[in-house]
Amino acid sequence: MKRHRRAIQYLILTAVLIIGGLAIGRSFYHPSAVLKPGSDAPAFKLLGLDGQAHALSDYRGKPLVLNFWGTFCPPCRQEMPTLQKEYEKWQGQGVQFVGLNLSEDRISVQNFVDGYGVDFPILLDRNREIERLYGLREYPTTYFIKPNGQIEDIIVGGPMTAQDIESRVQRLLQP
């Protein structure tokens, strides 16, 4: 025992440093539950109205306007025409518009989209999973996401005006 005293001392102190270091280091990293400008947009994978699966990563590399909406929410309905117009306006510059429906029946969503002449992609959330992931508190909520996946701005509530959307899209287009 005596011969190995030094070795044991080093061993124990090293083990303490490693385990303690790991535990303490991990305590510094706690992802904030509430998304703010600057947070990374949480990843998701959802079925779209087109019947294909789409992931958030599919939209990386270009600016993204992500609008959480539902047919049961009057301001969401009211801002749809505005969103459609802005989508058409900025499409040429590569700005992507995606509507994320709040877990409604596909057929209700399809009918609404057809009725309002909405062209941009619509994804269908299920069981409120993604709205909980994003910590949504109000409907509608729109996220303006940079090409690198970081959230540039969040508009809670609506209906949004064309100016609301345009000023933020312009910021998204800045390098």
Binding site: I12, I24, A53, I107, N127
Partner: protein, 557 residues
């Protein structure tokens, strides 16, 4: 400067030794003269005490100090108590923003609390750091003491120094008129019957009992270390999970983050009847049973494919009651809460298609309120669902819209084709709730005016064709892979505590110098019991002495 630690008996002792490891003679001069000898750890030096400590020794000595350990524990206690002043962040709902919550709810103090990081006390770097230091202290304190103690207790000398013997807790010195060797032999027989383990060396004797009890505190510490490691690692390795699922009766939902699905077959709420209740509580409403009859499914195919329905296979079923969870694959599903609907919630109906023109009826067919299929074959007709409104209402333009996502007033729009109908078929609005039949009639009649239907079809649903959910059951799904380790740690700790508390380590030394018998005895606990036992032993050797007279402690207890 080398300190001379060589005892007069010839044994070389390490620095810091209080009693010679061999003969027990006190090496340190400044021991209080009127008290029994300091027998802690049998007087051997702690491992770490050295002449010239280097940095490694200093760190080791810091953690080896019991004083430091107690201070660490007190600081941790105070820190932990701070975390109980306001609710911690991880108890808040996920939609609440902590930085606003504390200021809104608790004012300036709340804002300060949050800014200082106290709202995440138990995950903070300083709290975890303290726990780590306590863990290090546990290991190092124990190691530093148990190894010398083990060495001391395994290599005990039988014939001890007179100073050692005469300064124990329990002492007897007297003349004995008998042959020393013979006396010692008789004594050893007597002590063996008292369950002592006896060693003799001519006219000296050492009797020892319950040495294992000394290891109790160290076993306890091992248990605590296992416990602490399990608690630390479980956070790092993601060994725990806590999810909630709310299910209507008959509903199946996926457990978030897993491949499992759980179904609520039926929820039962039972109250005690008046016959079962004591007189004072007659007429009172007391719950007897909360129970969810649940089935657990595992997804076996199409689990990650969003375009397809997952294939489910039943793996377990259990009537979940409070404290009786459904356990499977490391997961436990508990009854967490429930909601009783004032008006039972409509889950599905089985309508019969009635043709007023021919008087025939077809079906019935199953129509669930949530996620209904889009096509139904009923008799010769095909019913296609073309719109759904979970809570029917009208928007500002008088157009139909749904007021919410919950099936509070479901309306379905069908297109009926096939049979003798024209190619474009007919539309039919169906309202599931009886109270909305008025609106249903209005809308269908308006559509008839626009030639969208002929008014010949209607759905008939009898009371027994409806399935309702009276309750919504809240289930909590938990996974705790660290539990076995925590139980093991706690079990080891308990064994150590029992070893230390319920048995006492007793030793009796005696030696003859010519005809003079010197006897000394020591125990770590219950010295009164030792006194009595020594007195009883001496009486067995025809020496009459009262226990009190044996007591060598002059200080009053």
């Amino acid at each position: 400067m080398l300190q001379n630690t060589k005892c007069e008996c010839g044994h070389q002792n390490p620095i810091g030794t209080i009693l010679c490891e061999s003969c027990g003679k006190p090496l340190v001069d400044d021991l209080p003269a009127d008290l029994p000898l300091e027998m802690r750890y049998d007087g051997v030096a702690r491992r770490s005490q050295k002449q010239q400590p280097n940095w490694l020794d200093r760190v080791w000595n810091f953690f080896s100090s019991v004083k430091v350990a107690v201070i660490l524990i007190v600081i941790t206690l105070i820190g932990a108590s701070l975390g109980s002043i306001f609710p911690q962040e991880d108890t808040l709902a996920s939609s609440v923003d902590p930085s606003e919550f504390y200021r809104d709810q608790y004012g300036t103090w709340g804002a300060i609390y949050h800014a200082l990081g106290l709202s995440r006390t138990y995950q903070s770097w300083w709290f975890i750091g303290l726990l780590t230091m306590i863990g290090a202290s546990l290991v190092i304190c124990s190691l530093d003491r148990v190894l010398p103690l083990y060495r001391a207790l395994s290599k005990q000398q039988v014939r001890k120094h007179l100073q050692f013997i005469t300064r124990q807790q329990v002492v007897y010195i007297g003349e004995v008129d008998a042959d020393p060797a013979e006396w010692v032999r008789q004594a050893s027989e007597l002590l063996k019957r008292k369950r002592y383990r006896v060693w003799t060396e001519g006219d000296a004797l050492l009797a020892e009992k319950n040495r294992f009890s000394r290891w109790g505190p160290y076993i306890n510490h091992i248990g605590l270390i296992v416990f602490l490691l399990a608690a630390l690692i479980r956070v790092m390795a993601g060994w725990s999970m806590d999810e909630f699922v709310q299910l209507d009766e008959g509903e199946t939902k996926q457990i978030p983050g897993t491949d499992f699905y759980v179904k609520n077959n039926r929820f039962t709420l039972e109250m005690y009847s008046n016959e079962e209740m004591p007189k004072e509580l007659q007429g009172a409403s007391v719950v007897k049973l909360y129970e969810t009859d649940a089935t657990l499914y595992k997804c076996t195919a199409n689990c990650d494919d969003l375009t397809k329905e997952p294939v489910l296979e039943q793996v377990a079923t259990h009537k979940i009651r409070v404290n009786s969870p459904l356990s499977y694959g490391g997961y436990s599903i508990y009854q967490n809460s429930y909601l009783q609907y004032a008006v039972p919630k409509l889950v599905s109906v089985r309508p019969t298609l009635v043709d007023a023109k021919t008087g025939k009826s077809y079906g019935p067919f199953d129509l669930p309120m949530q996620n209904p299929p889009l096509t139904y074959k009923v008799g010769p007709y095909t019913l296609k669902l073309i719109d759904i409104f979970p809570e029917f209402g009208l928007d500002d333009n008088g157009q139909p819209m749904s007021k919410s996502r919950s099936p509070n007033d479901p309306a379905f729009v069908f297109r009926i084709t096939g049979g003798d109908l024209p190619k474009e078929g007919e539309t039919y609005f169906y309202f599931a709730l009886p109270k909305s039949k008025g609106i249903e009639k209005q809308i269908n009649e308006a559509a008839a005016k626009q030639h969208q239907n002929s008014g010949r079809f209607s759905f008939e649903v009898r009371m027994e064709d409806t399935t309702r959910s009276n309750f919504m059951s809240g289930l909590e799904i938990r996974k705790e892979r660290g539990m076995p380790f925590i139980w093991v740690g706690a079990g080891i700790s308990m064994v150590g505590l029992m070893m230390g508390f319920y048995w006492q380590h007793r030793r009796i030394w005696l030696r003859f110098d010519d005809r003079r018998l010197s006897l000394g005895a020591y125990t770590n606990k219950n010295s009164y019991g030792l006194r009595a036992e020594v007195a009883s032993f001496l009486r067995g050797m025809d020496i009459d002495v009262s226990p009190k007279a044996l007591d060598n402690r002059r200080s009053t207890r």
